[in-house]
């Protein structure tokens, strides 16, 4: 084919332009460390990356939910354990006070101890976490138990979300947890005041039932905590896996990117050298 001078110059311009564009892209990949800087660089990868980012954001939120839930469960467990200890103390007191050698005045002074215990149990049942009552069902803004042990909450325990389709009740229906424990303590106090050994023994039996009931509730809380821990570990794993996948999609393999850049540099230099050669050739130079 006949080659005009214009063809040579146009070809040099076109080729150098194309190589510069590729060189610029290779340089951008190396200097940003990212495979995708424009949407068009890899639209499919980009869509995947966005979906993964949303999922990661969701996992982080669920992680925060779980830690909120854990603080509720920990507070419940500690309040319930304290109540259990108090029940156990009350029972020890009952055993002492039920013996025949104990006199009426000693029983009256023991009744004051029981009154303190009752107040302590009410106060534990009214445990607050960040200003919210945890044994109040969903009426978290008001104390669930009045001093006489009447339950004012509801039976709709506070619930948190720990997964796409799963949630956990981390608050409690106080009425169901503590039941008639306040009546039992109150009855025990009355029996002590009345020096009524039979009454003391009835109370002792009821305390056993309460002790078992609270134990069951504590182990419920324990199993919920376990479930949350498992969930948390799953989310940790998912987070690590997804972060790795995200990095595979978004981040450039630096070694590969640098080799690519060097290859492009080489091509560019070769093109520059040959262009310079071709452009300076002309018959004009040989005619004297």
């Amino acid at each position: 084919m006949r080659v005009a001078n214009k063809t040579i110059y146009d070809m040099v311009k076109f080729n150098l332009g194309k190589i510069t564009e590729e060189l610029n892209h290779a340089n951008r990949v190396v200097s940003t460390g990212k495979r995708i800087s424009d949407l068009s660089d890899d639209p499919v990868g980009l869509t995947q990356a966005l979906n993964i980012k949303s999922a990661l954001s969701n996992f982080e939120q669920l992680g925060r939910n779980i830690s909120t839930g854990n603080s509720w469960l920990t507070a419940s467990e500690s309040a319930m354990s304290n109540v259990q200890d108090l029940i156990s103390d009350a029972k020890t007191l009952c055993i002492q006070m039920a013996t025949a050698t104990i006199g009426a005045s000693e029983r009256i002074s023991a009744s004051e101890t029981v009154q303190n215990m009752l107040e302590e149990v009410v106060s534990l049942a009214n445990t607050e976490l960040n200003g919210l009552y945890i044994f109040s069902g969903s009426k978290t803004d008001s104390a669930p138990f009045s001093q006489d042990g009447t339950y004012n909450g509801d039976n709709n325990p506070f619930t948190i979300k720990i997964g796409r389709d799963s949630s956990v009740q981390v608050g409690s229906d106080g009425g169901a947890v503590f039941g008639t424990i306040f009546n039992t303590l109150s009855d025990l106090k009355d029996a002590l005041v009345a020096n009524d050994v039979d009454g003391i023994q009835t109370a002792m039996g009821n305390l056993d039932t309460h002790f078992d009931h609270v134990s069951n509730k504590i182990s419920d809380v324990g199993s919920k905590m376990l479930r949350m821990e498992i969930k948390e570990n799953i989310f940790q794993d998912l987070k690590i896996n997804n972060t790795e996948r995200l990095s595979e999609i978004e981040n450039a393999d630096i070694t590969e990117a640098i080799i690519d850049l060097q290859a492009k540099e080489l091509v560019y230099q070769a093109a520059l050298a040959s262009s310079a050669k071709v452009m300076e050739l002309s018959l004009v130079d040989y005619i004297k």
């Binding site: 639209p43 949303s54 919210l132 608050g171």
Partner: protein, 600 residues
């Protein structure tokens, strides 16, 4: 018999012809860098010899014509390919702007803002009575609304920019058409004598190629040397020495119209497929139009999904005594005309019910009224008016709780296009269990107001008092609790719900067609962003292919038409040697004449 004078004549013709050859070579060399120049070659021929007796005597040389090396087929191909290249170059310029607008590497992207929006609802569910969580959600929702509006605004600005570009492009088209018409006139005049005016034809070719960078061009050579230029729909731009202009017209001044001579116009907007004009129109009416519609559909579905769930719930307190709640979605006609965004009444179930709860002045002792849209006290349909809705609500309050009649009542706004619930000084109210979605449709107890990507905003009631964010629900017994997070959890769960969201196809000829994509709000947005990327990468590779095609065709064109200095240097020497030889001829003839004259 030959004579000496004949030698002089032959030498004279040789001198002038070879010198003319040098002139043409000089013109070629001078135009080595002129893009549309076609190299010229003088065609030499021996002058018709004369016979003298039985001898034939040559009469020297003559330049018969100067040929212009040009292949019309390749020139046309190149012109059309250049037209396609300007098309894809403009498309690429604008799609890059679009890519920048939807850049997802920024923290302010809608994608991460949507994730945060759902997360904030979960934060509220973790602490439903907390005010700081509610404030955080409110502030973030404003940002999200602003981002939707901003994207919508950027797209609208791009459309305006493109219309402005069209306007100035059309000015250029008219100027070039006019110049071609003038060149036609000059060529017609100068070629009347039978000559070919190579330089003017080159000039006209150049103008034509400039014109084809703007729009579709078709040409016909006329026997008289003029060129007829047509564009889309066969509209004539140039005929002989007259040109016909284009103008912007239509209701919004955004249509391209061809002006016929009688003052009538033809709309060629949808038929321009090449050149910058074609690129701008495709960008505006097919690509940006699609993403603008997609974005708006997404915003509408998002607003509807959140609103219809939010309207089921209750805030930390009921709507207070002496306060009123005004519906934000309005209509002066039928309920079917309510502009709540998503495709109208398909979303409202007119056989459904909702509960209106009326409490005492302290927001306690709630009593319910079940408002049945399909009631004997007023049957509400899509064709009913807000007045019908108001009347049936008030009638059902009176019917079910006569003692509460008038304590909380429905009424209409002054202009009659919005429904209002008003409590007297001693009563409070709230809503629950809306199976009809009518509350979301009239914009009562919703989270957002506004229904398009550009108009989305947060309800004023929530703006002024965050306790109205409905994280809880009123239970069947009329109780509601600050620790109830059931509605907040239901709203947070919307992030996992796949919805049928309209997805648009915009075709410049067949118009906009609505399809749909079943996806979650976020995945739909991700697909939208991915689709912009795919479109952009398609346009870029198209541009690259066009560029290579232009390069190939240019090579072929240049191999036929462009100047090679090596050739011209050779020609230079060829004509120079011939000129020297002809000079020698004269000097030899002169010597011969002298010899003759010196005979004593």
């Amino acid at each position: 018999m030959s004579n000496l004078g004949a030698i002089f004549n032959i030498a004279k013709s040789a001198l002038s012809t070879q010198r003319y050859g040098l002139d043409v070579t000089a013109q070629n060399i001078a135009n080595v860098n002129t893009p549309s120049y076609s190299r010229q070659t003088p065609v030499l021929e021996a002058v018709q010899p004369v016979s003298s007796g039985n001898l034939i005597i040559g009469q020297g040389v003559n330049t018969a014509q100067v040929i212009r090396s040009s292949d019309q087929f390749i020139e046309t191909q190149l012109m059309q390919q250049r037209s396609k290249m300007s098309f894809s170059e403009e498309m690429e310029n604008y799609i890059q702007v679009l890519e920048g607008i939807f850049n997802e590497n920024l923290d302010t992207s809608i994608s991460s803002m949507l994730s945060d929006f759902w997360n904030l609802w979960q934060d509220i569910s973790n602490s439903p009575s907390g005010i700081s969580e509610r404030t955080a959600l409110y502030e973030h929702s404003i940002l999200l609304s602003e981002q939707f509006s901003a994207l919508d605004g950027y797209l609208a600005n791009l459309e305006t920019d493109l219309t402005n570009s069209l306007n100035s492009g059309i000015g250029e088209v008219n100027r070039i058409s006019n110049e071609i018409a003038q060149l036609n006139g000059q060529i017609l005049e100068l070629e009347a004598g039978g000559n070919t005016v190579n330089d003017l034809r080159d000039k006209r070719g150049e103008m034509l190629s400039e014109l084809s960078e703007y729009l579709d061009v078709n040409t016909f050579d006329q026997p008289n040397g003029t060129l007829t230029v047509l564009t889309a729909r066969g509209c004539i731009l140039v005929q002989g020495d007259s040109s016909y202009g284009l103008e912007m017209g239509g209701d919004n001044g955004d249509r391209v119209k061809w002006q016929a001579s009688g003052g009538t116009t033809v709309d060629i907007t949808n038929y321009l497929n090449n050149g910058k004009l074609g690129g701008w129109l495709t960008m505006r009416d097919a690509i940006i139009a699609k993403y603008k519609l997609d974005l708006s559909s997404l915003a509408e579905e998002f607003v509807w999904a959140v609103n219809s769930q939010h309207s089921q719930g209750v805030g930390l307190e009921l709507f207070q005594p002496s306060s009123n709640v005004t519906g934000t979605y309005k209509t002066s006609n039928t309920l079917g005309d309510l502009n709540y965004g998503v495709a109208a009444d398909a979303y409202v179930d007119y056989s459904g019910t909702f509960k209106l709860w009326i409490g005492d002045g302290q927001g306690e002792n709630l009593q319910d009224i079940t408002i049945d849209l399909d009631s004997v006290l007023g049957n509400i349909e899509a064709s009913s008016s807000l007045t019908d809705l108001r009347d049936t609500i008030n009638a059902q309050i009176n019917d079910q709780r006569p003692l509460l009649n008038g304590t909380v009542a429905a009424s209409l706004s002054a202009s009659g296009d919005a429904i209002i619930f008003t409590a007297d000084a001693n009563h409070t109210f709230g809503f629950s269990d809306d199976t009809s979605s009518i509350l979301a449709a009239v914009g009562v107890n919703t989270f957002f107001k506004g229904a398009s990507a550009g108009a989305i905003d947060i309800m004023d009631t929530i703006g002024s008092d965050k306790t109205f964010i409905a994280a809880a629900r009123i239970a069947a017994d009329g109780s509601y609790a600050s620790g109830d997070n059931s509605n907040a959890l239901a709203i947070a769960d919307l992030q996992y719900t796949s919805l049928d969201i309209p997805q648009w196809t915009c075709d410049r000829i067949t118009g906009n067609t609505e399809g749909n994509l079943n996806a979650t709000i976020e995945n739909y947005y991700h697909a939208l962003v991915g689709s912009i990327g795919t479109t952009a990468s398609g346009i870029s590779s198209g541009r690259l292919i066009n560029e290579e095609m232009v390069m190939k065709l240019s090579d072929i064109r240049d191999s036929i038409s462009a100047v090679s200095l090596d050739e011209e240097m050779t020609n230079l020497i060829k004509f120079q040697s011939a000129y020297e030889a002809a000079s020698k001829l004269i000097s030899v003839a002169d010597e011969m004449l002298e010899t003759l004259l010196n005979i004593k």
